[in-house]
């Protein structure tokens, strides 16, 4: 135990301490003098690491290959077509709309709440409270989406239906609140999605805020700032990371399948109304894939999946790079300060 404590900070140190503490010759001759076992072990583990790269690439290739008949047949018209007749016409616009609209509604609901949670966890809560709340937020992220779906169907939708009925009676002249107040539809889907992406956005934003050096807040406080003003200073430094967290949440919402399928109503429609039953890309795949019979139908469904894959890949890459930037600059200036 004493030996372990003597170690300064094993996780943070970039180079293993072995290399740092041993004299030069060891480092220089390391490559040549390594035993056969070492080289095999490193080779095997590296190979397994590369499987991860391979899988991601293979995913894009395989889906592109399988979707090719539909891509060749419809081209860009796939994205603008509204007819999906199971035989020779496959236009994905209503489903793209359902996915995009529900995800952005969810983002609009989840973003302020997630930021509040992140700020509370990173800047305000005392440690024991932070530990408990972090656990609860993690739990929210770990609950399977089919559980959200079941809860959505039997607990949330009846509540949403009440709200919709009331709004319908008092405010149906507003386009957002027109449409059938049946509960199943855009509003329920967006609400479930919002609940599901809050943990993602909140926990990444919290990590980003924690990566902003404390010296910045301390400087603000020393100048007589209130706590909120000091937090604002930290927030302004965390903006790229928070954007990254938001994109991550968006990616999650776009690809979410079960919970949406169970509450969105599954009727392809393009409407601004919150009450309108709609259909999302992922829900379409979930409902039709196992029963698709013609090759073109399967290819069209896979093309929908390919679209989801490409969008989420780009969103994830972009957001991870943004989050990393904050983490790196944050950690760097922390060491200097």
């Amino acid at each position: 135990m004493a030996i372990e404590r003597a170690d300064p900070d094993p996780v943070r140190s970039e180079q293993p301490a072995v290399v740092q503490s041993l004299p030069g010759p060891y480092v220089r001759s390391r490559r040549r003098s390594r035993s056969l076992g070492d080289r095999i072990f490193e080779g095997v583990t590296t190979g397994f690491g590369m499987i991860i790269l391979l899988i991601v690439v293979a995913m894009v290739v395989a889906l592109g290959w399988e979707a090719w008949p539909a891509i060749r047949r419809f081209g860009l018209g796939f994205l603008t077509g509204r007819e999906w007749n199971y035989v020779d016409q496959f236009g994905a616009l209503p489903y793209v709309w359902g996915t995009v609209y529900s995800s952005f509604l969810a983002l609009a609901m989840a973003l302020p709440i997630s930021l509040g949670v992140a700020i509370f966890l990173a800047e305000m809560a005392p440690l024991p409270v932070r530990t408990v709340l972090s656990f609860l937020v993690e739990l929210l992220a770990a609950i399977p989406s089919v559980v959200y779906g079941l809860w959505g169907m039997f607990v949330l939708v009846p509540l949403v239906r009440q709200l919709e009925l009331w709004l319908f009676l008092h405010a149906h002249f507003i386009p957002l609140f027109s449409g059938p107040p049946i509960g199943f539809g855009m509003l329920s889907a967006a609400t479930v999605l919002a609940i599901m992406i809050i943990p993602t956005i909140a926990s990444v934003s919290r990590d980003v805020l924690l990566a902003v050096p404390a010296s910045q807040r301390e400087a603000a406080l020393a100048l007589g700032a209130t706590r909120w003003e000091a937090i604002k200073v930290a927030l302004s430094n965390a903006v790229p990371g928070i954007i990254g967290a938001t994109l991550l949440g968006l990616g999650r919402a776009l690809g979410e399948t079960m919970a949406v399928t169970m509450v969105i109503g599954n009727i392809g429609s393009i409407s601004i109304s919150l009450f309108q039953p709609a259909y999302s890309m992922a829900a379409l795949i979930a409902n039709e894939f196992s029963e698709a019979t013609t090759n073109l139908h399967v290819a069209a469904l896979i093309e929908v999946g390919l679209l989801l894959l490409m969008v989420t890949l780009v969103l994830n890459l972009f957001s991870r790079l943004l989050v990393r930037r904050v983490a790196i600059t944050g950690a760097g200036s922390h060491v200097k300060g």
């Binding site: 301490a17 690491g49 399988e66 930021l115 399977p144 690809g255």
Partner: protein
């Protein structure tokens, strides 16, 4: 201090009431924002408690011995269980673990012990990106590489889908756990003349074992609840099956089919199955929390 300050410019400004009004507004803003952040936390955890409570109330009443030991009964009859789905889930998750755990663990060893430079950074980035790929897309991938060549839906395809989903979860947690092992332990091993791979296998991995195991349990809990990738790989099966080459039932898919059916009795069983899933998630998360905490203590 107070009587002196009136004679200084700043003091006069303060006592003029102008600054104090500004200050009061700033204080108010501070309070307001603290309140709003607290409110946000409240709003975020209310659904969690709503889910936990409704699952506990509706799920617990559906559970009995028959639930775990009997096959589903025809619609219209009450009682029966989901034995085939429980066994199916066990097989699918076992298969997924068999595929996902070795790949995840070995790549984590690479990242933690050798992972510097561009290749490692790329793999780390791809691991993160991979965990953001929608699970239904992973299902399509498994369909393309397993169902297509074999020409029929199978438990094997479902297992492959779950295995792929498991990889990034295992890699990330295991890398973290391996990095937590104190550097001094590695140095001690090297000082005794062990080659690096022996240090990793005989010293580092056993030290990180409890963390890795709980991380793996977390990953198992995650894939056990996955539904979307199974819909068109493992499909579903109304009968008892343990064959890897035939469609197989699973708890999450059973929950979905039961929930979307119009029968009260099936809804009841769906809630029971959800209770089982949620308890699993709850317990593994608690255990992971404890393991991570003891890991940090080891670090200190």
């Amino acid at each position: 201090m107070k009587d002196v300050s009136v004679f200084t410019p700043a003091g006069r400004l303060l006592s003029s009431g102008l600054v104090s009004a500004v200050y009061r507004r700033r204080r108010l803003m501070d309070l307001l924002m603290t309140g709003l952040a607290g409110l946000a936390v409240l709003v975020a955890v209310v659904p969690l408690f709503s889910i936990l409570i409704s699952v506990a109330i509706r799920g617990l009443s559906a559970l009995n011995l028959d639930f775990f030991t009997k096959m589903p009964v025809p619609i219209g009859e009450t009682g029966g269980g989901v034995l085939n789905a429980i066994v199916g889930s066990g097989i699918l998750v076992g298969l997924g673990t068999l595929i996902g755990l070795p790949i995840g663990l070995l790549s984590a060893i690479y990242l933690a012990e050798y992972g510097r430079g561009r290749l490692a950074d790329t793999i780390r980035l791809f691991t993160e990106v991979m965990s953001g790929v929608p699970s239904i897309v992973v299902g399509i991938f498994a369909y393309a590489i397993v169902v297509r060549p074999l020409h029929h839906f199978s438990a094997l395809a479902g297992g492959v889908a779950l295995g792929i989903l498991m990889i990034p979860v295992v890699t990330r947690t295991a890398e973290e756990m391996i990095r937590m092992v104190p550097q001094s332990l590695r140095e001690a091993g090297l000082a005794l003349g062990l080659p690096r791979w022996r240090v990793t296998v005989s010293i580092v991995l056993p030290s990180a074992a409890s963390g890795i195991v709980t991380g793996a349990m977390l990953a198992v809990a995650r894939i056990a609840g996955e539904t979307a990738p199974l819909l068109f790989t493992a499909l579903n099966n109304a009968f008892f099956s343990t064959s890897l080459l035939r469609p197989i039932a699973s708890l999450p898919v059973q929950i979905y089919t039961y929930a979307t059916s119009p029968y009260e009795e099936l809804h009841r069983i769906a809630w029971g199955a959800v209770f089982v899933l949620v308890m699993m998630v709850l317990i593994t998360n608690l255990l992971t929390r404890l393991a991570v905490r003891s890991g940090y203590e080891m670090k200190r």
